[in-house]
Amino acid sequence: MLTVDSFVQFVEAYHERLRALTDLLNVLDNRIGDGDHGTNMARGFDAAVKKLHQSSLGDLGMSCSTLAMTLISTVGGASGPLYGTAFLKLSTVWKGLKSVDGDSLRRGLTASLEGIQARGKAVPGDKTMVDVWYAMTSYLHQNDPFSSEVWNQAVETAQQAAVETKDKIAKKGRASYLGTRSVGVCDPGSVSSAVLFEELIHSFTGGALRLEWETLALY
């Protein structure tokens, strides 16, 4: 179950992870983009943590829209409007709710995926964060009812989808400028998305898996 408090804890925890992962995400983006994804995400979630702490958050809808507005104004890169759109969609689905269960979470993530795809026009396989969001939501749709086993597997599925972007050719975003030269490096936004799911599910379940990342295998 996710409440306003555990949602804020998720954002805090994800922010910590991003701080630790900034260099890795920059390196990945440097290889196939412009080298700023780690910096962008850390800056955005740094601002988000501050903003959430300052705001009086009545419900999860408000929490998500506050996060979204912060991201669209502070991340700077493509990931800003994309993650921003994801949390705007969540804020619509979770409007007025003080807590959400597994069904609501799945419904929310499905709406987010649709939002990300409408925004960036990417489809699964294009070597973008969509690959991870799609893998995550598909897994949740195919594995009802939810158990802690299912949540753990969902997190692993997301990681696997991120790792599998390595061998793909980027079709969207800056990495697509490189065409086939984008092969051999994981998509940075996919990695940041998989870690986001780790932390989101961890907060949601109060203790799902946190995964090991073989960072050197990512590029």
Binding site: D36, N40, M69, I72, S73, T74, V75, G76, G77, A78, G80, P81, L82, G84, T85, L88, R119, G120, K172, G173, R174
Partner: protein, 138 residues
């Protein structure tokens, strides 16, 4: 004042401001021009800044947006979604070369043309021949 405002959305504040001054010189006050470029002084775009700049355009004017890269486009689209369908109906994002499209659009707007014509001229800037071979004569 032309009825079509021109808004520039670039990742670089400098690039947006530089182009703005070029357009300014060409349209000599006849067109409302604005730039929502950069993330502060860093490279990037900020959808809330785009919203602000769009909202500060004259209310009776239509708006044409020129953007540099796909991620700027996404910020524009988020801004339009947040401003709502009524506002968005006044705005067209032009899929045109940033500099050449903006110049063509600004000139057309300064001549008092409609949003449709302004957007059309921005799109046509794709086909602009900037270099002419000697044999082409005129």
């Amino acid at each position: 004042m032309g009825n079509v405002s021109i808004v520039l959305v670039s990742h670089s504040k400098k690039m947006g401001e530089g182009l703005l001054s070029l357009l300014d010189q060409l349209t000599v006050g006849k067109v409302h021009l604005a730039s929502a470029s950069g993330l502060g002084d860093e490279l990037g775009t900020d959808a809330t800044k785009v919203m602000e700049i769009l909202e500060s355009c004259p209310r009776d004017s239509d708006i044409v947006i020129l953007f540099d890269l796909g991620s700027a486009l996404m910020s524009c689209e988020v801004a339009l979604e947040l401003l709502g369908p009524d506002f968005a109906s006044r705005v067209t994002i032009a899929d045109a070369p940033f500099v050449e499209g903006a110049i063509a659009a600004a000139v057309e707007s300064s001549l008092g043309h409609s949003r449709e014509v302004v957007v059309g001229s921005a799109l046509s800037a794709r086909h602009l021949v900037k270099m002419q071979s000697d044999t082409e004569g005129g």
